[in-house]
């Protein structure tokens, strides 16, 4: 008998206009000690299954049909009080973002003890002892001191360990992990996944691992279920589904995953469901000012760049402490190349980008753009002329567009700011841009919230191209997107570089993506560039220990099917 069995589950969300079926006749079963991956794009219904098992469906969602059984006992449709007794005791959940899933106002000890006592009762000293053991078990060093700290005193990875400790409080049989490592760095992600694997084997816990990351699935899970639009499209042992996918959707999903070992000319785009949007690069190239990229000369010369942030304010200068975010960084960016910067969060990669864009003042060192030093420009006209040539695409397509501005106003704003055109010309240019990025000029009359993440990132690209810049800064442009949308956006960026002669600064923590996109890569660690190489050389032959460590932690996708991929020669 399986530990957890889901039979013919359908979850519906009645809305005013129509009934939305989030989960459509899904079957799933999990054995003790098994890690079962649930993969699909956002909106596929995978998190809804997790919420349905926990009895925590958001209103007005409801289980329309089907049963959920835990060790043979039905748990769907039982009353709220009985469900609360199971929650945390038999079934636990781990959430995506460790920064927000712990209550900031209570110490770790308080949160653990309260959960232990809610289910097991027992004296304070017993609960405290158990709390200490749990913290020790999930690998947090110095448990006695750390128990009495507040969540904000822990790093992201350590917080996720606390969350896991909380989920383990009462020896659950099933753990539902909803994107447990999406918000974490590669190295931390590897540690957390190892911990989950260990727990599954050691305690014979059944784990449902919900994720959109194929690398995590391939590395961690025993079985996998692929979902599309609320339905299961394929299910089976991980190696089989990843290696020989049978369903068209699974095939196209796997094909869109960037590979660390295989450099492609273009990403295959997901053809399933007919969502492909054309990007009219030839059309754009026709109107673009001709640039002669002299590849021997650098566009940017960065020399000894330094940035310090005030860490602790003080009345007196010697009371203040500073944090050096960027520490004596030097590199050149050649004309027409894609220059990658990789590193973990806090390594200073975004700070470098922001200083180049002129968003942060420079504390030391110089930035030279086409022979002109720009880091100490104070003359507004000169600064504007520089900024016109530099545009930026941000990570989060949800917060980087003003929700109260119409899309055509958003795209027109840089043109108006730099006074490049006026009146009807602006409108024509904006319509052209929106057509070219594949949204159609009608999109200009809508507001950002009417678009999906990938479409919003296209709006960001249209906005960035509005001033016809020479240089694009892309700060993790795809890390918030699904893998198929990521493939589309990355292809667009490659087109821009090839056909318009743009130079790109590409920041990412995702090494396979960097491998696909970049000509040269700088590896940053704690504010310093520790290694700078041609991309292929870096991946084949890293010179520093840190770079080889990063490469080692990268998910191995060797088992993934290579159907439909054409390697670059």
């Amino acid at each position: 008998m399986s530990l957890l069995t889901i039979n013919d589950l359908t979850v519906e969300f009645p809305t005013r206009r129509k009934l939305f079926t989030a989960v459509d006749h899904v079957d799933l079963s999990v054995e003790p000690g098994e890690i079962h991956g649930l993969v699909g794009e956002s909106g596929a219904g995978k998190s809804t299954i997790g919420a349905a098992i926990m009895g925590l469906l958001d209103r007005p969602g409801r289980i329309a049909s089907g049963t959920i059984k835990l060790s043979g006992d039905q748990i769907s449709g039982i009353d709220a009080e009985a469900m609360r007794g199971l929650r945390g005791k038999k079934i636990s959940m781990i959430f995506q973002d460790p920064l927000t899933s712990l209550n900031p106002l209570f110490t770790v000890r308080e949160q653990l003890v309260e959960t232990i006592q809610a289910h097991l009762g027992g004296s304070d000293s017993e609960a405290n002892k158990r709390a200490r053991d749990l913290i020790d078990r999930v690998g947090i060093p110095d448990p006695d001191a750390r128990l009495d700290q507040y969540p904000h005193q822990f790093s992201g990875g350590m917080r996720q360990r606390v969350v896991i400790a909380l989920a383990l409080c009462t020896e659950p049989d099933v753990i539902i992990a909803d994107e447990p490592t999406t918000a974490l760095d590669v190295s931390v992600q590897a540690q957390i996944l190892d911990l989950i694997k260990e727990l599954a084997t050691e305690r014979q816990v059944g784990v449902i691992l919900i994720t959109h990351d194929m690398g995590v699935i391939a590395d961690t899970t025993d079985k996998v279920t692929v979902m599309y639009a609320g339905k299961v499209v394929e299910s089976g042992p991980t190696s089989q589904v990843m290696g020989q996918p049978t369903h068209e959707y699974t095939k196209s999903l796997i094909a869109a995953v960037p590979r660390p070992t295989l450099k492609l000319h273009r990403f295959p785009q997901i053809s399933y469901g007919g969502r492909e949007t054309r990007f009219a690069i030839e059309d754009m190239a026709r109107h673009w000012p001709k640039v002669d990229n002299d590849t021997s000369k650098p566009v940017f010369e960065i020399r000894n760049l330094t940035k310090k942030f005030l860490q602790k304010r003080g009345l007196l200068p010697w009371d203040r402490t500073y944090f050096t975010a960027v520490d004596d960084v030097s590199f050149d960016i050649r004309a027409g190349e894609v220059f990658g910067v990789v590193g973990e969060s806090g390594s200073g990669k975004s700070t470098v980008a922001r200083m180049i864009a002129g968003l942060y003042p420079v504390d030391g060192g110089t930035i030279t753009f086409e022979g002109q030093t720009v880091s100490d420009l104070t003359n507004k006209a000169a600064l504007d002329a520089y900024r016109k040539n530099i545009q930026m695409i941000f990570q989060d397509p949800y917060s980087s567009l003003n929700p109260r501005m119409r899309v055509d106003e958003i795209v027109a704003e840089p043109i108006r700011h730099h006074k490049l055109m006026d009146g009807a010309d602006i409108k024509r240019r904006v319509d052209e841009l929106l057509d070219q990025v594949g949204l159609g000029h009608e999109a200009g009359l809508k507001y950002p919230h009417e678009f999906s993440g990938g479409q919003r990132q296209r709006i960001s690209i249209a906005r960035a191209l509005a001033t016809q810049p020479r240089f694009l800064i892309c700060d993790e442009p795809t890390s918030a997107l699904d893998v198929s949308i990521q493939a589309q956006i990355l292809n667009i960026l490659k087109d821009l570089q090839e056909h318009l002669g743009l130079t790109l600064l590409f920041i990412s923590h995702d090494l396979p993506v960097v491998r696909q996109m970049c000509d040269r890569v700088a590896v940053m660690k704690q504010g310093k560039v520790v290694e700078l190489q041609e991309t292929n050389d870096l991946f084949a032959n890293p010179q520093t220990e840190y770079a080889s460590e990063l490469l080692r932690l990268m998910p191995k996708l060797d088992d993934l099917s290579t159907e439909g991929l054409n390697a670059e020669t």
């Binding site: 926990m54 925590l56 609360r84 007794g85 199971l86 929650r87 945390g88 005791k89 636990s92 959940m93 959430f95 973002d97 927000t100 899933s101 712990l102 209550n103 900031p104 106002l105 209570f106 110490t107 309260e114 959960t115 809610a118 289910h119 700290q149 507040y150 904000h152 005193q153 969350v163 909380l166 989920a167 409080c169 602790k312 003080g314 009345l315 009371d319 402490t321």
Partner: protein, 325 residues
């Protein structure tokens, strides 16, 4: 922490000085106190003599400086109207206002938070919706109108509660309290409700919207997923997080309870400092007005300081960072 308090104190002093300066620059537009002080049979010589005596012939920065000189020594001058030291008059009147403000502030906070939490948890319930609708009236009716309505219902029609004054009072040392007699307590009810109603509805609406926000937070969902009871989630996890932003607004509101007591005190003829101030304006009693304004600003500034310190007490993110370094 210490440096922070010192810095705040320093800012507070500047605020007080500016308030005083603005007040003094306005006083000359209120009227000429000499008109009221001398009878019909005054001569120009009398007027000039009195004006010199009171220092009113000097430019206002000089008057302000003289006031400050006295104020730092605890001497706020002599009331033009009553001929007694201002500090004595205010000390006599302050207990009435403070007791009224305390009771209505207490009502506003306890009822406001309780109703706010209730309406947030039972968002769909009938009772919650009725409370929300009624609270709109509390927010939109002006204070004096509420006072008059209450007087009409409870004093005129039902004849249950007194419509003016503070009833019998008992002196404890220099403090005259109405808490110890039944007529004193009865007299408190209507003015306290009048003064606190607006604040109560405001706090309630604020708590409700904050609480709804917090109940959607990930850590509340996670607490639910850990199988904690609704009571623990609502009152331990959610309420404490709700209070962080609510404290700021509430602190400012308590300040305004004391400041806006003027209207309520006028409606109910409550013998507090607010009524004193209104009378002082009519008589252009500059020393009383100046002392009252300074007193109110001191209160606002102090409450603000306390609110900021409460942040440290509630939010470990501020507290621990301050200690760690």
């Amino acid at each position: 922490m210490f440096a922070y308090i010192v810095r705040r104190m320093f800012q507070s002093v500047i605020v007080l000085l500016v308030v005083g300066l603005v007040a003094f620059s306005m006083f000359r537009f209120v009227g000429d106190p000499i008109d009221n002080m001398l009878g019909q049979e005054r001569t120009q010589a009398d007027i000039d003599r009195l004006r010199t005596e009171l220092g009113l012939d000097k430019p206002f920065p000089v008057q302000y400086f003289k006031f400050l000189q006295g104020a730092v020594q605890g001497n706020f001058g002599v009331s033009y109207r009553q001929g007694r030291p201002v500090s004595t008059i205010i000390a006599e009147r302050a207990p009435a206002t403070l007791e009224l403000a305390f009771v209505s502030g207490f009502l506003a906070i306890t009822m406001g938070i309780a109703l706010g939490v209730f309406t947030a948890i039972r968002r769909q319930g009938v009772a919650a919706n009725v409370i929300m609708t009624v609270s709109l009236i509390g927010v939109s009716l002006p204070t004096f109108l509420i006072g008059i309505l209450l007087i009409y219902i409870f004093s005129v029609e039902l004849d249950l509660l007194p419509s003016f004054g503070r009833g019998e009072t008992v002196m404890i040392g220099n403090w005259s309290t109405g808490f110890l007699t039944s007529s004193g307590l009865k007299a408190l009810i209507l003015p306290a409700i009048t003064l606190g109603l607006y604040q109560m509805t405001l706090i309630m609406r604020l708590v409700r919207s904050e609480m709804l926000e917090v109940l959607r937070a990930d850590y509340v969902r996670f607490a639910r997923a850990r199988g904690l009871s609704d009571r623990v989630i609502n009152f331990r996890h959610a309420l404490k997080n709700t209070l962080v932003p609510v404290i700021t607004i509430t602190g400012l509101q308590l300040g305004s309870i004391i400041a806006f007591a003027i209207i309520t005190e006028t409606v109910f003829q409550w013998p507090g400092v607010g009524l004193l101030f209104i009378n002082a304006i009519q008589f252009v009693d500059i020393p009383v007005m100046a002392a009252y304004l300074m007193l109110i600003s001191v209160m606002f500034v102090t409450i603000n300081l306390i609110v900021d310190l409460l942040y440290y007490a509630i939010d470990p993110r501020l507290r621990v960072d301050a200690r760690a370094t």
